[in-house]
C-alpha cells in the first residue's frame, strides 16, 4: 500500500454529495488531512534520515495495521451514527480465547493457528453481534452498550487466564504476526486486504449505500424499505469480527496473548475515523479518509519517538489534532 494509492482513494470518499465549489476551503476539507500527512512525513524525514528507512516505515505500517483493521469496521459503525468503545477489550478477549484454543488443540498439531484464528473470529463476531442486538433490540445507546462491553470483556480476558499472559506458539502461528508476503509484513497485507474489501463494499455495494442511508436519516431509510435493525446489528457484528482478527494478529506478532492488549485502541480507532472526515452523527465519512487518519496517527507517534519527544507530549499532540481536524471540518461546513 503506497502513498499515492492512498491519496487517490481519499479523493472519492464522497458518497454524500457536496455542491461543487472549487475554493481553497472546500479543497482543504477534502484533501487537508492527506496534505497534512504528506507534510508531516516530509518534516520527520528532514529531521531524521532514519525515519524514511525501510525498516522504520515497515514498523509504522505494522503498528498501524492492527488498529487500522478495526478502524475499517469503525468507519461503518460511525457511518450509521453509532460508536463502539469495546474494540480494545474485545481484541484482548478474542485473542486470549484464540490462544487458549491453540493450546487446547496442541501447539505442535499444525492446526493451532487455524484453531486460534477461527476462535478469535467467532468470539469477536459473536460478541459484536450481541452488542449490536443490544443496541437495536433493546434500544440501549451504542455508547452505553459498548462502554459496558469495554469493561466486561477486559474483565473476562483476565478471568480466562487468571490475568496471566499466554505465550508459546508454533512458527506457523507466529508467521501471521512476523512473517512477510512479497516483502511486506503479513499484518500489513491483511490490513490492505481488509481495507480494499471495505472500500469496495462502502463505495460500490448495495450494503454500503444502505449504511449511508441509515446514518443519513434513519426514519427515511426505514420508509424506503430498508431493514434498519439488521443493518445496524451487522456493523457491530462486523467490527467485532475485525477486532477478533486484529487480536489474533497482535498475539501472533507479540508471541503472547496479553490481558492488557489493545488498551486504548478504541480511542485511536475512533480518532482515525474522525480525522478521516467522518461525522459522529452518521452518514458522512469513508474508508479512504479513515486510512489516511490511521496512518496520520501512526506516523505522528513514530515520528515523535524518533525526534525523542516524550510520550507524554505525544498524547497532547494527537489529542489536539483530533480537535483541530473536527474544528476545521465544522468551520468549512458552516461556510457553505
Amino acid at each position: 500500500m503506497t502513498e499515492t494509492r492512498l491519496t487517490t482513494s481519499s479523493s472519492d470518499t464522497a458518497a454524500p454529495a457536496t455542491t461543487p465549489r472549487r475554493d481553497a476551503v472546500s479543497w482543504l476539507r477534502t484533501y487537508g488531512t492527506t496534505l497534512f500527512l504528506v507534510l508531516l512525513i516530509a518534516f520527520f524525514a528532514s529531521q531524521n534520515a532514519r525515519f524514511l528507512s525501510v525498516r522504520n516505515l515497515t514498523n509504522i505500517l505494522t503498528e498501524v495495521s492492527i488498529y487500522g483493521i478495526i478502524s475499517v469496521g469503525m468507519t461503518f459503525v460511525i457511518l450509521t451514527g453509532g460508536v463502539d468503545l469495546a474494540v480494545g477489550s474485545l481484541l484482548a478477549f478474542a485473542a486470549m480465547a484464540g490462544a487458549l484454543m491453540a493450546h487446547a488443540v496442541g501447539i505442535d498439531s499444525g492446526f493451532d493457528w487455524l484453531a486460534a484464528l477461527a476462535t478469535s473470529l467467532a468470539v469477536g463476531g459473536l460478541v459484536g453481534w450481541v452488542q449490536g442486538r443490544a443496541v437495536t433490540f433493546f434500544g440501549i445507546p451504542a455508547f452505553i452498550v459498548t462502554l459496558g462491553g469495554m469493561t466486561m470483556w477486559r474483565g473476562a480476558t483476565l478471568i480466562l487466564n487468571d490475568g496471566a499472559p499466554l505465550s508459546g506458539y508454533s512458527d506457523a502461528y507466529r508467521w501471521w504476526g512476523t512473517g512477510t508476503i512479497l516483502g511486506l509484513p503479513v499484518p500489513v497485507m491483511i490490513f490492505a486486504l481488509v481495507a480494499a474489501i471495505g472500500y469496495v463494499v462502502q463505495r460500490y455495494s448495495r450494503y454500503g449505500r444502505q449504511i449511508y442511508a441509515v446514518g443519513g436519516n434513519i426514519e427515511a431509510a426505514r420508509l424506503n424499505g430498508l431493514d434498519v435493525t439488521r443493518l445496524v446489528t451487522s456493523v457491530y457484528a462486523m467490527i467485532g469480527l475485525l477486532s477478533g482478527l486484529a487480536g489474533f494478529l497482535l498475539s501472533a506478532r507479540l508471541g503472547s496473548a496479553e490481558s492488557v492488549a489493545g488498551t486504548g485502541y478504541e480511542l485511536r480507532v475512533i480518532a482515525s475515523v474522525v480525522i478521516g472526515g467522518a461525522s459522529l452523527s452518521g452518514g458522512r465519512g469513508g474508508i479512504g479518509g479513515t486510512i489516511i487518519g490511521a496512518l496520520l496517527i501512526g506516523v505522528m507517534g513514530n515520528g515523535l519517538v524518533i525526534l525523542h519527544v516524550s510520550s507524554y507530549w505525544q498524547q497532547v499532540v494527537i489529542g489536539f489534532i483530533i480537535v483541530a481536524a473536527v474544528a476545521f471540518d465544522t468551520y468549512a461546513k458552516a461556510r457553505r
Binding site: A15, P16, A17, T18, T19, P20, Y204, S205, R206, Y207, R209, Q210, Y212, A213, G216, N217, E219, A220, A221, R222, L223, N224, G225, L226, D227, G283, R284
Partner: protein, 513 residues
C-alpha cells in the same frame, strides 16, 4: 369596530418566503378581555401570523401595537413574552422531566442568596394553580400529566408572566369533550381578569361556544372580521374557502378493480403517546386507475391511516386485503415488495436524505434491481435510471451528484415521486404532495399523479388543500377525528359540503350529492 382602544392592533402585515407569499397585508384587532377566533384553512397564513406575533419570525412590513405601543419589528420571542404576549403552541414547550412548578418559573425562579428558593417556588406555583382552579400538584413531573393538564400548566405559566394576550394554537386538537368544556371555562375566567385570547381552531362549533369576535384569513389575505354573534357557521365556511387560485379540474377516470382494501382499521390512544391520533373502524377500497383523495383537517387521522396501510405504524384492529391475501405489512419494506409505496408527509424529516446526492435519494429502494447478484451496484444502470426520471419529471438540477437539500421543495418532491415511480408500484400513497411548493410545480405534480392513475396505479392523495383534492380526485374520502364521515364523488364535490364533513359536529344527511 371596538368601542375602547384595542389591546392588539396588527396593521398591513406582509411576509414572503422564497417563491411564496405567506401574508399580503393582514390586519387583526383584538380588544381587551376579548376572545378572538382566528380562522382560515391550512395555508391561509395563520401559522405565519402567529409566529410573527410570537417573535419567532420577522415580518417584511407592517405594524404590531400592543396597548397602543408599537412593538419593535426585530423583537425575539423573549421580548414578546416580557411584553405580555404569550403563545401556547400545539406541541407544548414544557420540559417533561421537570416539575410543574419548575416549568412555570423556568428561568425566573425565585432566589434566596443566589440559590433557588424551593419552598417559595412551590408556594407561588400552588397559589397560581389554585387561583385558576386547577387541581394540579406543583411538585408533579410534567410527563405524568395528561395533555389537558399540560395545557393548563402552559396557561398557568403564562399567568406567571403577567400575560395580557394569550395566543392558543389549536388548543383543543388533542382534548376530549369534557376537557374542552374545562378549557372554555378557564378561558372565560381569563377574560374576566382582562386577559385577551387569540383562539386558533378548525372546529367552528367552538367558535360559537367561546369566542366574541373573529377574523378570517385566506391565502395570506385578510377576508373579514366581526362579532361572532352576528354570523352563521355557514358564512364562516364560505369566507374561509372562497379561492383566488383554482386548479384545472382533471378529467375523471373510470375506476378499475379493487387493488387494496382496508377493513375496520382501528387505533387507540396509548399511554406512551398522548398526542397520538386515534382511528375508529376505517374501511376503504383502493381501485386501480383511480385517484382517491383523502380530505380532512390536521389531526383527522389521514396520515396515520396511510402509515398503517404502508406498514410504517401498527394498528390495534382491522385488516388489509390485497389480491387474495389478508394481513398486515410487517414493515415498509414488506409493503414495497407487495407494490405499495408511500411518499411521506414530512419531506425533510421522513423523505429526504438531505446531505446526500439526488442519485442516492432516487435509487435507494430500487438498488436490489440495479445491483449485480444483488450486491454490487451497476453504476451505469443506476445513472440511466436517474437520467430517465430526471427527464420524465423535469427535475431541475445541476447534476445528479448534488445534495438533494440544495433543491427547491418542488424538485425535492419530484425526486421522491420518482423514487416511488421507479418501483412501479400498484398502490401509491402521497401525503401532502404539494405542501410548500410553488404553483407551477404543483400543477406538474398533479399531472404526474394523473398520468400514474391513467397507467392503472391506485393513487391515494392526502392533501389539506381542498381545491387540490377536488381538482385531482375521482373520489374523495373525508376524515374527521379518526372517523370516515363520507365518500364523495369527485364531480359532485363542492368546498362547502366537504368542509361540513370535515369540521361540523353533526354529519349532514347527504354523504354524496
Amino acid at each position: 369596530m371596538s368601542e375602547a382602544a384595542p389591546l392588539l392592533e396588527v396593521r398591513d402585515l406582509h411576509k414572503s418566503f422564497p417563491g411564496v407569499r405567506a401574508l399580503g397585508g393582514v390586519r387583526l384587532t383584538v380588544g381587551k378581555g376579548e376572545v378572538h377566533a382566528l380562522l382560515g384553512e391550512n395555508g391561509a397564513g395563520k401559522s405565519t401570523l402567529l409566529k410573527i406575533l410570537a417573535g419567532a419570525q420577522q415580518a417584511d412590513a407592517g405594524d404590531i401595537r400592543l396597548d397602543g405601543v408599537l412593538l419593535p419589528a426585530g423583537d425575539g420571542p423573549l421580548d414578546r413574552q416580557r411584553a405580555g404576549l404569550i403563545t401556547i403552541y400545539q406541541e407544548f414547550n414544557l420540559l417533561p422531566d421537570m416539575s410543574v412548578a419548575e416549568n412555570m418559573y423556568l428561568g425566573r425562579e425565585p432566589l434566596r442568596r443566589g440559590l433557588i428558593d424551593w419552598s417559595r417556588l412551590h408556594a407561588d406555583a400552588r397559589a397560581i394553580l389554585t387561583d385558576l382552579g386547577m387541581a394540579i400538584d406543583p411538585r408533579c413531573e410534567v410527563r405524568r400529566l395528561s395533555v389537558a393538564q399540560q395545557q393548563m400548566v402552559e396557561i398557568a405559566r403564562a399567568m406567571t408572566q403577567n400575560a395580557r394576550l394569550i395566543v392558543m394554537d389549536e388548543p383543543t386538537a388533542a382534548l376530549s369533550k369534557r376537557e374542552v368544556t374545562t378549557l372554555h371555562r378557564l378561558i372565560a375566567d381569563l377574560k374576566a381578569r382582562g386577559v385577551s385570547v387569540i383562539y386558533v381552531t378548525h372546529r367552528l362549533e367552538e367558535v360559537t361556544a367561546c369566542c366574541d369576535r373573529f377574523t378570517v384569513l385566506r391565502d395570506g389575505l385578510f377576508v373579514a372580521d366581526g362579532d361572532v354573534a352576528d354570523i352563521e357557521v355557514g358564512d364562516l365556511i364560505r369566507m374561509m374557502v372562497g379561492r383566488d387560485v383554482e386548479f384545472a379540474r382533471q378529467p375523471r377516470r373510470a375506476p378499475g378493480e379493487i387493488v387494496l382494501s382496508a377493513r375496520a382499521i382501528t387505533r387507540r390512544r396509548h399511554a406512551t403517546d398522548l398526542h397520538a391520533v386515534t382511528l375508529n373502524g376505517l374501511s376503504l377500497d383502493l381501485h386501480a386507475g383511480e385517484i382517491l383523495g383523502l380530505a380532512g383537517l390536521v389531526g383527522a387521522g389521514r396520515s396515520e391511516f396511510a402509515r398503517i396501510l404502508f406498514g410504517a405504524d401498527k394498528a390495534d384492529e382491522g385488516a388489509l386485503h390485497l389480491s387474495g391475501w389478508t394481513g398486515w405489512f410487517r414493515s415498509p419494506g414488506h409493503a414495497l415488495d407487495a407494490g405499495v409505496a408511500l411518499v411521506p408527509e414530512d419531506r425533510k424529516q421522513q423523505g429526504c436524505f438531505l446531505d446526500h446526492s439526488i442519485r442516492l435519494n432516487l435509487t435507494l429502494p430500487s438498488l436490489a434491481r440495479l445491483a449485480k447478484w444483488g450486491v454490487f451496484i451497476d453504476a451505469r444502470a443506476e445513472r440511466a435510471l436517474v437520467e430517465r426520471y430526471a427527464r420524465a419529471l423535469r427535475i431541475k438540477m445541476a447534476n445528479a451528484e448534488v445534495a438533494i437539500g440544495t433543491l427547491s421543495g418542488g424538485n425535492q418532491q419530484k425526486v421522491l415521486l420518482a423514487r416511488c415511480m421507479a418501483l412501479r408500484p400498484r398502490v401509491l400513497i402521497v401525503d401532502e404532495p404539494t405542501r410548500g411548493i410553488d404553483v407551477g410545480a404543483k400543477s406538474e405534480v398533479h399531472q404526474l399523479l394523473a398520468d400514474l392513475a391513467a397507467d392503472g396505479v391506485a393513487v391515494v392523495v392526502i392533501s389539506s388543500e381542498l381545491p387540490e383534492v377536488m381538482a385531482i380526485s375521482d373520489r374523495i374520502a373525508v376524515f374527521r377525528e379518526g372517523v370516515l364521515t363520507g365518500i364523495v364523488d369527485g364531480d359532485a364535490a363542492d368546498e362547502a359540503g366537504l368542509m361540513h364533513l370535515m369540521a361540523a359536529e353533526t354529519t349532514p344527511g347527504r354523504a354524496t350529492a
